[in-house]
Every structure is written in C-alpha cells, then in structure tokens.
Symmetry: C2
Subunit: 501 residues, 2 copies
Amino acid sequence: MFESKKSSNVKYWIIFVATAVVVFVLGLLAASITQRKAEKEYVYKPIVQINDNESRNEIWGENFPREFQTWLETLDTTFHTKYNGNGFKDALEEDPRLVILWAGYLFSRDYNKPRGHAWAIDDVRKTLRTGAPMSDTAGPQPTTCWTCKSTDVVRVMNEQGVENYYKGKWARLGAEIVNPIGCLNCHDAKTMNLTIKSPALIEAYQAMGKDIKKATLQDMRSLVCAQCHVEYYFDKKRVEGASFVKFPWDKGLSVEKIEEYYDSYEFADWTHAISKAPMLKAQHPDYELYMMGIHGQRNVACADCHMPYISEGGQKFSSHQTVSPLKYIDKTCQVCHRESEQTLVKNVYDRFDKVVEVRDKLEVLLVRAHFEAKKAWDLGANEGEMKDILQGIRKSQWRWDFVAASHGGAFHAPIEGLRILSNGIDIITDTRIKLARILAKYGYNQEVPYPDITKKENAQKLIGLDMPKFRTEKNEFIEKIIPQWMKLAEERQSKWKVIRY
Amino acid sequence: MFESKKSSNVKYWIIFVATAVVVFVLGLLAASITQRKAEKEYVYKPIVQINDNESRNEIWGENFPREFQTWLETLDTTFHTKYNGNGFKDALEEDPRLVILWAGYLFSRDYNKPRGHAWAIDDVRKTLRTGAPMSDTAGPQPTTCWTCKSTDVVRVMNEQGVENYYKGKWARLGAEIVNPIGCLNCHDAKTMNLTIKSPALIEAYQAMGKDIKKATLQDMRSLVCAQCHVEYYFDKKRVEGASFVKFPWDKGLSVEKIEEYYDSYEFADWTHAISKAPMLKAQHPDYELYMMGIHGQRNVACADCHMPYISEGGQKFSSHQTVSPLKYIDKTCQVCHRESEQTLVKNVYDRFDKVVEVRDKLEVLLVRAHFEAKKAWDLGANEGEMKDILQGIRKSQWRWDFVAASHGGAFHAPIEGLRILSNGIDIITDTRIKLARILAKYGYNQEVPYPDITKKENAQKLIGLDMPKFRTEKNEFIEKIIPQWMKLAEERQSKWKVIRY
C-alpha cells in the first residue's frame, strides 16, 4: 500500500512541475485574451519626409493612411441630420428671410450649409459671394477669404509673410491655393503634434494676455478647430491695403463682450440696404458658444465628439471625417452617455427644435423692423429720430446671427443660445415700439405689410438683386479662370520634391 | 535524512488542516470587512398601530424615527441658496414688479418664498392671501386652500367625502386642519407604500386616459410630489358651492396645451386691475417643467435629488427634509455627477442666472404693457380695439408666470423655460406695438412713463391697496381665531385612540 519514499517524492515533483507548466500556459492564454489590442503601441514608420510647407494632404496621407482615408470621407455628402449634416443645402432657399436680413451684403446672394473640409476650395470658388474676378486684381473679395479654406494658406504665409498674404484681391492667390483644409492646418510636420498655424488665434490669445503655447493637449484638441470655427472680422486698419483676420475677443468671448468690442470703434460689416442700419455679420462663433455650453465647461474637446477614436486592424486612431457626432453615436455620445441612440438623437433634436423655434420668431421680428424702418425713412424720418432704432436693429440682429450662424450652437449651448435670442427679441421689441411711434408721427398708424418672401427668388428680387447676371458671370469665371488656376498650380506642385525613405 | 512514511503523512495532514483553518478564519475576516452594513435588511418593528386617518406626523414618527426626524428638519430655515432655499423671504419686497403683475389679485398683497413642509399650516394661516375670516362662513378663500397644506385633508376627505370637503369657506376647516404636510399625504398607513391621496391627480391621469395605479415605483417617487407641485385651478362648475382642485392636463402638460385647455372655455383667474386683461395665474408647475428637463427625461425622480439616501447606525433611509439638493451635494448630484461641489453649484447657478435674466426682462415688458393698456382705456379706447391686446397680455404673462412660479424650474428645465419666456417676449412685442398704434390714434404718441415701483410699498399704494388695514385685520384673526382653532383641535385629537404594541 505504501510506495517507497523516493518514488513518492519523484511523483510530487512531477505533479509540481506539470502544474507549473499548465498554470504558465493558462497565463499566456489569459494574457492573449485580455490584451487590449487597440491600445498597443503604434510604431510610426514614415514613408515620405514631410516638410513645413507641404500643403498636399495626399502626401501626408502616405504616412497616415487611416487618418487620410477618414479625411477623404469628408467628401461624402450623404449623411444628413434633421438640421444639418454634411450635405450641400441652400440656406436661402430653405429660409428666404435670410435674404432680407442680409440685404446689401453678399450673403443675400448665396449662402449654403457647410460641407466637409475636403470641399472647402471647391465651395469658396463656386459661391457667388466671391464673385467672378476675371483678373488677379479684380474684386469683390480680398485674399483673406482663402484663410480658412486651405493648407496652402499656411505655406503662402510662410513663403510671402503674413502681411503680404493678406494684401490684394482674392483672385491673386487663386493659382496658389488649391489644397483644401487638411493636415498642415493643425499638425506640426516633424512631430505631428497639434500646432496653431493661424496668426489670428495666436494674436487673439495675446490680446487676452494669454500664451497659446501653454495650452494643454486637451485644450489643443479644440483650439486647432478654433483657428477657423470662431467669430472674426477683416481688420483693414492695421496695414494699408491688407485685410487681416482678427478675432474680436479683446474684451471677452460672450455675445455682449464681442459687441462691446465692435461698438468701441463703431465697426460695421455693412449698411443694411432696407433699413440703413449699420450691421454686424456674425461669422460662425462655434468655439465661443461651445465654450459656454456644458460640454465645453466639462472640457470635452471638439475632437472628442467630432473626431472619435476608431479601431481598425488593431490600431486606434482618431477619425478625421469631422462630421456630426450623430453619424457615429456609438463612438461619440455613448462613450460617456449610457442611453440608447434613439434617446440621444431625441435629446439633441429637442434642443435644436426649441432654439430654432425662438430663432425663427426673432427672424420675423427683424424682417418687420427692417421694413418698418424703410417706411419711416420713406415718410421723411430724420437721422436723429432713426439713430436709436438703427442701433436696436443692429444689436438685435447681431444676437440673432450669433446663434443662427454658429454651427451646432443650438446643441453646444442651448441655454446660452436662448438667452441671447431672448435678448434679441427684447431689444427689437423696444425698437419696433419706437418705430411705431415715428410712423404714427408721420401719419402712418397701421401695420407695415409683411413682404411676400415665401421664396428665395421673391426675396432677392425684392431687394433688387440681378441673380441671373451674377450666375452668368460666375459661370464664365468657373469655366475660364479656374482651369487656368489649376494648370498653374499643377505645374508648380509638380516641381516640389518628395523624399521617400 | 528520510523520515518514516507514516510520520511524513501525518505532517502533511497537519499542514493541510492548519491551512484550512487559517483560510477559514481569513474568509470570516474578509466577509466582516466587506460586509455592506448600510444595506443589511431593515427589520421593521412597529411601536404604534397607524390607521388610515392618522394625520399626526409624530405618531407615524414613533415607528419611523429617522424619517420623522429629517421631516422635522424642514422647520430649519437656515439653509439658503443664491435663489432660494428653505428660508422665509418676501418675494414682493425682493421684486416689486410682482405687485403690478398681480394687481387685482390677492397675490399682490402677500407672496413669500416657500418654507419647508412642516411650516405649511403656519404659513397658510398667516399669509394675507387667506384674509382674516372671523367666522366659519367668512371669506375670502374656500376650503380648497387647505388642500396642499395638511395630512388632515386626507382625513377630512375620508370622513366627510371629497365633495363635502371642497364646500364652504376656508375658515370652516380651521379647527380640523392643523397637522402640516406629512406622512399620510404620501404613504399607505398599513404597507407604508407610496400612495396617491389627491383626488385631483388621480382624475388628471384619468382625463389623460391613464391609470395612476399602474405607475412604476420610480414614477411614484415623483408622483407623490405631483399631488401638489403642479399647475392647478379651482373648478367651481362641477358641484354648486364647491371648489374642486383640478389639474388642467386634459390636453397635455406643456404651457401651450394648458393654455389651450383654459382658453377652451375662456377661464380667467381674475381680471387685471390695471389693464383689465382676463388673467391666468400659474400656480407652481414644478412637476410639469421637471418632466420637460433632462432629469425628468432620464427618469431621475424628485426623491432622488430632494430626498437623498442617508446612512445612520447601519441603516439606509430616505431623508424627508425635502430641501434644495444643493444642501447635500455629496448625497444628491454627486451620486451621478463626478464633479466638484463648486463646479456643480456653478452649473446650477449659471442656469438660474440666465433664466432669471430673461424672466426679469419679460417682467418689465409686462409692467409696461399693463400701464400702456390703462392709458389706452383712459384715452377712450373701446373693447373691440383692446380685445387682442388683452389676450396678448394674458398669454404673455401666463408664459412668464409658468416659469417664474415653478419652484426650481430654471434648473429643472432651463431650455424649456427659456423657450417659454422667449415666446412670452415675442407675444408682448406684438401686443405693445398694437398698443402704441392705439395710443397714437388717441393722440398719445410717446412713451407711457414707467411707474416708480422700486419698493413694494410704492407698488402696493399705486394699485390702491390699504396694507395697514389688511395687516390689522390679520393680526386680530391670528390673535383671536387661531387659538380657538388650536383648542378645538387639541380636544378632538386627545380623544383619538392610539394602540401601542
């Protein structure tokens, strides 16, 4: 029954070693199963050498095929949300009131919902707002209108200097600026780190007494977007003949502080063609409104929602499609919010619906105010009587535009957006009551008829725009000038050396 | 060197058993450490037998000392937030515009910020809104004004029947209704389950085609609050001489749907003393607005934030202090939100600040509209001319009041609140422009002076209130009548049997 002591010891050793081996193998298995492949270290193997002026996105794309491929997807215009998306939509057709609100300004001719980054050059060439310049010195726009459209802007600023870049007409750089918004706008060519290339943003930080170089990595994931997705204007006083992009942030980023800045030297983008009010045109204060909403306050970066992480072939990378987060709710909202897609979409649209409801009401009031002011002028009102009224129209429409022009603002900061719109309605209330009194004084004590602007075409005719003429001119420009620009650009780019490893 | 086989086996056995013992003891230790004491089963040992008409909170408190003790803490008025809290504040003094907005209605005499549940009886007796009834049949208020103030309401409804409860004047039940809002209002005396005791809420559900008995446990944690924290009115048409509490939810819970309900039979709470507009007074649509905000949409119940769980002596129970969640951020907000107290308080106040900013603007416009309407009447405007204007004032002020009167509404649903206020401003814009035209027609083409209402006293004098008289009468009532009520109530209650186990 009892074995010898020695054979017994050998048996224990065999069991011991066998167990150790089994446990070791199990360990390997477990490690293999639990390994987070997506987070394995990415070994960067550059294929081409990228220089500081490389504006061609496809060259960068050779080193970063996944980022480039998702950037290319900004060409896809099939994704639409209820209010926007990546589609190409005529905003004036959708809402002809805009034609009236921008009467006397080029926006009344043509204004489209934004498409993806890769369309930027195509869109800025084709919009009626850039006109049909048949020579390098023809207007209507300055070179500044290229600033947010292309990687070539970084290159040209490097080559010609910032001041020279801002000089002359838009057409002057038509053959230079051909690559749409891309890699060079946000990345350092050597380190690939996020970098601010826009002098305007660097200066805006300086004006606020801050150094943008001290921004955190997480802040940079929004600040690179803030190079363009902000309120800005053309500063023509800095250098004779140059139109510098300037962010009006000196006093702060709120709608009131920016207004205070503009008011401080009576800046106006244009004089309204109907009411004669000195108007401000909000660009797209996306960053400003985002900062005032809960996501901005929680330091959720633009990239967290608009450039979500994707796993492919064991590699984790940030999508460069920069589209509505609603396209990839599983990769965007649901990273933090444990709600169904349906619920989250509803939450987003609820916010939009409420802001849009109020925005539309203010639009109607502004349309009325412009025509009431015109009636007052027509009846003989004088400048002294009209001064406060024109200021009221300016202030109210500025508030409307700040919210209306901000991409996604109704979601980014619905509470601030509604506060701003409410103030806009409050101001126009006061203005229209003063108008009613002036009209009564000049013998017109009844409602000024609301114009027939159910269609864009009616509205544009009403403000005297010769749209067929603009379109004919534009088509000629597209047919004759753009091919010339493209040919020159191709010749230039073909001479750029590319060093492949 | 080698021991005998037998002694070696004995040694293994000793090691084996010793190890087993050590592991067992370690297990006991671990269990003791990790045991979640707070969640151990609560063994309910009743001390008194509670019957279905037991309105005395202190009797229930014998069985539930912790819940009772926290309920008693609603007497503590030392906690204040920036906008409210548990303190006793004179809202008319804080904002004298309210006196004008409620001119002709009892709210213009006296309106205080809410105190805790345990103060309810004291507050309703002392407010000038209940007047100074020196007999059981004296006015101004019906018995209905007790409805949300006391557990005795449940008892009296059980004893006299709901219809009879609603009959007669407020003073009729002065000696019956003495125990403030408490246990019997929300709990079943036998099972302690949450139960709806308010006939108005049960009927409101029926009117919407729903059965409140099918509400989930989580829904009940809000619905018991919705017995009172809602918009309601007194339905005097149902039974002759009775004022039934009725929730105007038949068409829906939104501000527009409730208005549609009221408009459908031209209901008005009162006629405005200055403008003559047929007004609606919003009560406190807390539940309605909460349901339209993100917490309501996420099914976070009232109790989750206002009655947080507390651990004491190894027992977990729900606090019955029902105070602002800002008093216990660690037990309320921070259960879900991983932010610092400071950040969370800022987020709450940011919402309030923005809603209050717009609310105040609308108040000013409404004050102006009332006085402009008065001016129009004074100048000879006729009813036909004024009809639309009075409707505009009604609709605009209804929107203002819906947001202003809702406890915590600016936090519960800031987006919906701002949407409503914006609509209020939009409506009053239109109304005031029509007013300006009428005034001009009657020869008054200038601004109607804004009244001096910097102080409550000025405003009350302006609308012709004899405040010293009201206060003298009230003091007499408090000195003479209330002690009689108390004495009768004590005699009655002393006869109620209490069975102790």
